[in-house]
Symmetry: C2
């Protein structure tokens, strides 16, 4: 490992220059006028992989191409095989006037590299590319076979990725997937995200009179759909912050003692968090910490309410209808279709006969979790500790990343989420940046990871189970 | 009375022609481009009153003029003095394309006269003008002194009427006010409206986080203002249709046995009414009929709900705020300012500490009621019975007419509401009409009214109390 680490240190400045080159492509997948830039970026990346010594190809899809790059491997290799996923497309940079420098200039100020795509996801995935380069260029044997899968449609919903994985299932057969596209709690808290919440969306509309009615002439003799909706929705959450739908928590995986211990190690100040949110008082399910509430517990949220008159002043009507948009965040082992059916059934059962209910079930996504005590996670913790020289933290994230489920579903393997993006890195916002100290740590993390994972699998490629450790 | 009735019958066709002339003025008070038409209409009306034999003047206000016309009176007359209120301004006619003939053409089809302003309020008030003409032109002594007060701003809120009444309080001192600007239940049900509901408006906004938040990253650890609003509003009405605010019903005048008997005489079919409203099932305060619920009982209605995302699809946010527009319909003897304070206090007391409440108290208007058993109402019932040859009905209306309270407050006298506008007359809608049979009955009603009211007052001008009768 010594030559690899020396190479990483000696070549750091060049890596940053190359990353800047990568960042200067305005590879904005959402904007058709940047289609050429997206393709140019993919071609540059393919050549870059080839220059490192990888067998790299540009794979067409009905949308933007996927870049696939493989480390050289011996015929009949028994090494563990890992995929590293990343994306070369970026969010639109607008609004331009809020940027302190041009979004595709790639400006360095101190240890910060400013550019659209810096932390999401060109910088973090570049750390993996360069760690592999260090192995190859120093003639150090890579303990794993590695395949990079870098797509160009992550910011527009990864429309063609699942089909690509299906079509290339045999080639992409592996022992696990590594993704660095999540968050790093702080530079002092190297982070593994071992769980993500799922989602299920629905829309409830209550129809009352056939048109808005004069509230003076008719009010009192018919139900008001806006009031009926409020009374319906009010029943869906109790005063202790729990979703009040029979059966909703039935499949929820309880937090283990190990998980709750790990969560306690996260830096958290209630006063600062309350101030950051801008609320008068925090509120959540009784018996859980705010971090647990927002990552490991399911929720039902009203995302929007619409009824009647919304302009200035007042309009004395009984609205013809009232509508709520609802999404639920789900956790293992809740199943979105089952939950949607459960909620729809409950709503129908409590809907008064004085209004007509219209339910529209929307998109959904499975929750994801790899056991925090699993061999792969425990092994990754070792790699993080060695590279960051800090005790890593284990977190669940409250959001949903659908591609993680695609990998799990199609390739039947777990995903290791090793985030390198800081909370203030402005992903999706103006002045996106990547911390170059984190980049250096990420390079070492990736380099450390492969011997650790290889040791886990042993010669047979089957992971041995280590004892869970205090991370 | 015989010469008066003969005159009314003999001159009916001319009356209709003159009414058409009156209707051809597009006296639309809401539209500045029609200001000249409004004034021209007022001048025409003044001259018309003069041609009948009244002392008529055009009285300027900061807005549109008020036409005041008085029957000739002997110096030191001891006759009872009644005001008749009407308005010569009309609603805007838009949308034009829904009219079957031009709104200011005044088209007659069978017994229907189509024009903007036909029923609201030129036609009904014209019946009073012509009944007085019949007395004057036949040399029949009018048993009452009568003053017409016809304003030009009713459709834009009667902004200057209260000040006009204040300034001319002495001149307008009277024994009562007659207004024909309400509804007639059907041609078979001559109608006196003896009560109107009041109104009080407010807006409730609950503020949560300082901006819309990602429901995945943060959901579960803070309250959702849309949910908090639903839970707040849901508590304001119980399952029996009662407003669930302590003290809300404290001042409500109970319906008398006489009132409830009268209400039972109204034609009402629950199935037809439900179909007319277009609701799956009627709903209202337990223990009251739909007619009572919508006219004699107070309500709290949500007129609008606004929160978060309202577009297509879904947006996974916790909204920064949620707002409801609320109006209450009030009945005697509820006081709007007291009720607003009561509701505001209650809302503050049940608002959870997890959101910040912003309350904005809006406009309000007093409820109005003249006792159904009062001498004036009972006397008017006689006049209606004689002119329509049908038993009249006594109703309360659910809407609010602020000027009625202005008359009561400033002149300290009761208002008799003798409606001549049918439910299908399309007031404020395209194809507004006035029923010419109702016009004929209205002419006789007005002619019958003055001897009856005079008899009531006797020589002294103080009403005697007759026994309530079955109307």
């Amino acid at each position: 490992m010594q030559p690899v680490e020396s190479y990483l240190a000696a070549n750091h400045d060049r890596f940053v220059r190359e990353l800047c080159e990568y960042l200067r492509f305005p590879s904005i997948s959402a904007q058709p006028q940047h289609r050429d830039d997206v393709f140019a970026c993919a071609r540059w990346l393919t050549k870059h992989f080839q220059s490192i010594g990888l067998e790299a190809t540009l794979r067409p899809t009905p949308g933007n191409p996927v870049v696939v790059a493989k480390t050289p491997r011996a015929p009949g290799s028994r090494k563990p095989h890992y995929l590293i996923y990343g994306h070369y497309d970026v969010q639109p940079p607008e609004p331009f006037d809020l940027w302190h420098s041009k979004p595709f200039e790639a400006r360095i100020e101190g240890n910060r590299l400013y550019a659209r795509g810096a932390c999401d996801n060109k910088g973090p995935s570049f750390a993996h590319f360069k760690a592999v380069e260090a192995y190859l260029k120093t003639g150090t044997e890579l303990p794993c076979d590695i395949t990079f899968v870098v797509e160009g449609e992550e910011e527009v919903g990864s429309e063609h990725l699942a089909a690509f994985l299906e079509e290339n299932r045999r080639e992409l057969q592996c022992d696990g997937i590594v993704i660095s596209d999540t968050g790093l709690v702080s530079p002092k808290h190297p982070t593994i995200s071992y769980g993500l919440r799922g989602i299920a969306a629905m829309e409830v509309t209550l129809h009352g009179p056939s048109r808005d009615l004069h509230s003076g002439l008719f009010g009192g003799s018919l139900d008001n759909p806006a009031m009926a909706l409020c009374q319906l929705l009010a029943q869906l959450r109790d005063t202790k912050g729990r979703v009040a739908i029979p059966g909703f928590y039935k499949s929820v995986a309880a937090l283990t003692t190990y998980e709750r211990e790990q969560a306690k190690r996260l830096p958290f100040g209630a006063a600062a968090y309350r101030k950051f949110l801008g609320v008068p008082k925090l509120f959540g399910e009784e018996g859980f910490t705010p971090h647990e509430q927002r990552s490991a517990r399911p929720t039902l949220e009203i995302n929007g309410l619409t009824s009647g008159y919304q302009g200035d002043g007042s309009k004395t009507i009984i609205p013809a209808w009232a509508r709520a948009k609802i999404t639920m965040r789900l956790v293992p082992n809740q199943k979105p279709p089952q939950i949607l059916q459960l909620v729809a059934k409950h709503l129908r059962s409590i809907c008064p006969p004085t209004v007509r209910m219209e339910l529209s079930l929307g998109h959904s996504g499975e929750p994801y979790m790899i056991s925090a005590e699993s061999p792969q996670v425990q092994t990754a913790l070792n790699a993080l500790k060695k590279s960051f020289h800090r005790d890593p933290v284990l977190v669940r994230e409250g959001g949903s990343i659908p591609i993680v489920n695609d990998f799990k579903r199609i390739l039947k393997k777990d995903v290791l989420l090793l985030g390198l993006s800081l909370p203030d890195d402005n992903a999706h916002s103006p002045n996106e940046k990547f911390d170059l100290d984190v980049f250096a740590k990420g390079l070492r993390m990736s380099a450390c990871l492969w011997p650790e994972l290889a040791a886990l699998h042993g010669a047979s490629g089957t992971p041995r189970k280590p004892r869970p450790r205090r991370a």
